[in-house]
Symmetry: C2
Subunit: 255 residues, 2 copies
């Protein structure tokens, strides 16, 4: 099997390393920034290419892991590719490929990737889609080599999943950041919150749904504490606004 | 050493079990609901008492782990207690005890406790305070038996810590809940988000601050995706409002 990888960012890097870990060869890597392609290619023993015209059209897969708004343009340059082309985006329709090629689909890894952090790819949910059942089968076979959590999900549902991930990951990390700033402004170390953050995430890994393990002053409707905490934020209108909106939102989930 | 525990809720239960694990005897347990005191007392080989008047006044510590607004009333009933009285609240001043007793303080475990989940208490940050240096020393000795993360923090800073914990734990869990509802409304399982939630929490356990590992459309200022996701929430005004406020808040952290 021969794979071409387009991109050298966090997702492309994670995928390249995941293939290396299972000893599947990535033949070529292209990136808008050739230097980045070179670095990644060296790490996984692939060939960096300078021009998309150099893509080996006989490869089995071309995986496009680039910014959402760059996918279409790259696809137009891969019209002669004979294998299956997939993108890795949560938010872009599979139909972005419709007029460009015959066999195409999506391979969306539902995880947050940062350079320098190694991820156990074998448990990353891979959301796949294919334009024909034959294509889907091939994408499924590829995905199952990488992960044991492969799910077939159409473009509409994938967008919902991506949106839910923004709430559960990006917004969550921002709440960590706001907490860290509050602490730092009061000469307290963020280290104090780390066990709490770990346990909060661990609590929802089992069968309990997050709404069933909600704690804190808002769900108890502990008005005294809510008022005291609002008073602490009197000089931080932005934080106060968030505090009130999130507390109200929690109260509404109370049964 | 003799310890009296007041309360039988999540925090009281976690503390009782933590003492049991290190083989420190809890002598008595009182709870507003005697049945609950009985259950917990049985679990840790303590004696359940029906009336606060039965508290052994010669005990070394009385730990009050009850709802914030019940602390003062309980303290007034423990005026004759000769040992050190501490409460476990993040939000209540140490001075709640001022007119009631001679030796008092705070032992605030910064963690989210739920019945049925066992917690490694040895890494739970214990924030302590004492009304005299002698009292503080005794509380510190007790706290160090339970955890290796004991920190001395005054009431003002403890309130900030508690507020930061609301952002990093209670609000975070609510974001998980909103994500779970979004998925459920679209026949998608919350299981798909679990590895992402774990990794998001794990990413900030090292030296990286959350603001430095922020990902997602808002920090990239990816307007197309932001607009598409807002459109997906068009029929959910509450979620849309949260989405916009949190995205704006993230954008402001961009350097």
């Amino acid at each position: 099997m021969k794979i071409v990888l387009v991109g050298s960012g966090n997702v492309a890097t994670a995928i390249a390393l995941a293939f290396k870990a299972i000893e599947v060869e990535v033949a070529q890597i292209w990136s808008k920034q050739y230097q980045h392609a070179l670095v990644l290619a060296k790490e996984v023993n692939a060939a960096a290419i300078k021009d998309l015209a150099e893509v080996d059209h006989t490869a089995d897969f071309c995986i496009i892991a680039v910014k959402d708004d760059a996918i279409l343009e790259i696809a137009t340059q891969l019209k002669d590719f004979k294998g299956i082309v997939v993108h890795t985006s949560g938010a872009v329709n599979m139909e972005v490929f419709t007029s460009q090629m015959e066999e195409y689909g999506v391979l969306y890894p539902l995880q947050t990737f940062s350079k320098g952090r190694s991820i156990d790819f074998s448990i990353v949910p891979l959301c796949i889609e294919g334009n024909t059942s034959k294509t889907l089968k091939s994408i499924s076979e590829l995905a199952n080599k990488l992960s044991s959590a492969v799910v077939e999900i159409n473009s509409e549902k994938r967008k919902i999943l991506h949106l839910a991930a923004v709430f559960a990951c990006n917004f969550t990390n921002h709440l960590y950041a706001l907490a860290a700033e509050l602490l730092s402004a009061n000469n307290l170390t963020f280290d104090l919150l780390k066990p709490l953050i770990t346990e909060t995430a661990a609590k929802v890994q089992g069968s309990a749904l997050p709404q069933d393990v909600q704690t804190g002053p808002a769900i108890r409707n502990d008005r005294q504490t809510l008022q005291k905490q609002e008073a602490l934020l009197a000089k931080e209108p932005q934080l106060l606004n968030l505090y009130q909106i999130l507390s109200e939102s929690i109260k509404k989930t109370q049964k």
